[in-house]
């Protein structure tokens, strides 16, 4: 069965995120008050053929650990859809 996996990778909390800061300043300049803690990362979508949703998730987690996220600087989260 094919599962659709949605992966979010963001800079680790506490690490400087200059892109997030720049966008935060731009939002403030546009008059959006109260917007803060902007973090900019990337979204990755992929299809995985697996026997179960658990197997698809395990496979996607390994992809994140080994390539899609840098364990030193980034955190990831993922959602598996049938």
């Amino acid at each position: 069965m094919t599962y659709r996996v949605h992966i979010r990778v963001v800079p680790r909390a506490g690490l400087l995120d200059p892109q997030g800061q720049a966008v935060e300043h731009a939002l403030a300049a546009l008059g959006f008050e109260g917007a803060g803690d902007v973090r900019i990362g990337r979204a990755i979508e992929l299809a995985i053929d697996a026997r179960s949703a658990d197997a698809a998730e395990a496979s996607a987690r390994e992809m994140c650990e080994r390539l899609l996220a840098n364990p030193v600087t980034e955190d990831y989260s993922l959602v598996v859809e049938a």
């Binding site: 800079p11 400087l16 390539l67 840098n70 030193v72």
Partner: protein, 230 residues
């Protein structure tokens, strides 16, 4: 004559400069393609600067999986010398041959200019021609040069004297923690830094203060301890 392999990835763009600097220092320079698995018995491997694989995903992240990198991993594991310059440094961090990571410059802009750096460690294969504390201006050219590592790693790097180059005279161009411009592995056999000494290795480019890195390499005695001038 000491043999030096300069690895070329798709997107490497400092390969010829590095080759020229190595050959100019009197070593036997060879190009090795990223698909090769044979390092041609080189004693020293250099991963040059550039934008391997277009910096897709993260700088150095894809190059790490090139066939040649398995040979580089083996070479390093056997105590062989490896130098990563700029993108090469990013690749070595991604390959976990060096600790930490290089992220977007703190001011978000690509920085391309000579900056002051200080040589902090001279008992490595690529810094032995310098005296500890030597300060010089060397070009940097990068968008992702901000060195980061967790606190434990940073303490270890400082305690073991593994910061090889440090930005100095207030010239940290990218927000790197502790002004770190380059680090090495515990044995000092794998070194990576952001500055480009190959661009200042020949007077024709305006300065040759960086030639010492390549003289160090050419004079290195594989298997023995690196000669130090301190």
């Amino acid at each position: 004559m000491l043999r030096v392999a300069v690895v070329r990835f798709p997107g490497s763009n400092c390969d010829w400069d590095t080759y020229h600097a190595v050959a100019g220092a009197g070593a036997d320079a060879r190009f090795v393609w990223h698909r090769d698995t044979d390092l041609q018995q080189a004693e020293v491997v250099i991963l040059p600067g550039g934008f391997s694989y277009g910096d897709y995903l993260r700088s150095g992240a894809i190059a790490r999986f090139s066939p040649v990198m398995q040979a580089v991993q083996k070479h390093a594991a056997a105590g062989g010398a490896v130098l990563g310059i700029c993108n090469g440094f990013q690749i070595l961090c991604e390959a976990q041959l060096l600790p930490g990571a290089l992220v977007r410059n703190d001011r978000l802009t690509f920085v391309s200019r000579p900056v002051w750096v200080r040589v902090e460690r001279t008992d490595t294969f690529c810094t032995s021609a310098y005296t500890r504390g030597t300060e010089m201006r060397i070009p940097v050219a990068h968008g992702d040069g901000c060195y980061v590592a967790d606190d434990d790693t940073l303490r270890l790097l400082e305690a073991e004297g593994r910061v090889v180059l440090r930005y100095t005279r207030g010239e940290n161009p990218n927000g790197s923690v502790a002004d770190i411009a380059g680090v090495c592995n515990p044995a000092g056999t794998v070194v990576g830094f952001m500055p480009h000494p190959e661009r200042y290795a020949d007077p024709v480019t305006g300065s040759d203060v960086g030639a010492g890195f390549f003289r160090s390499i050419a004079a290195w005695l594989p298997g023995g301890t690196a000669r130090s001038t301190t």
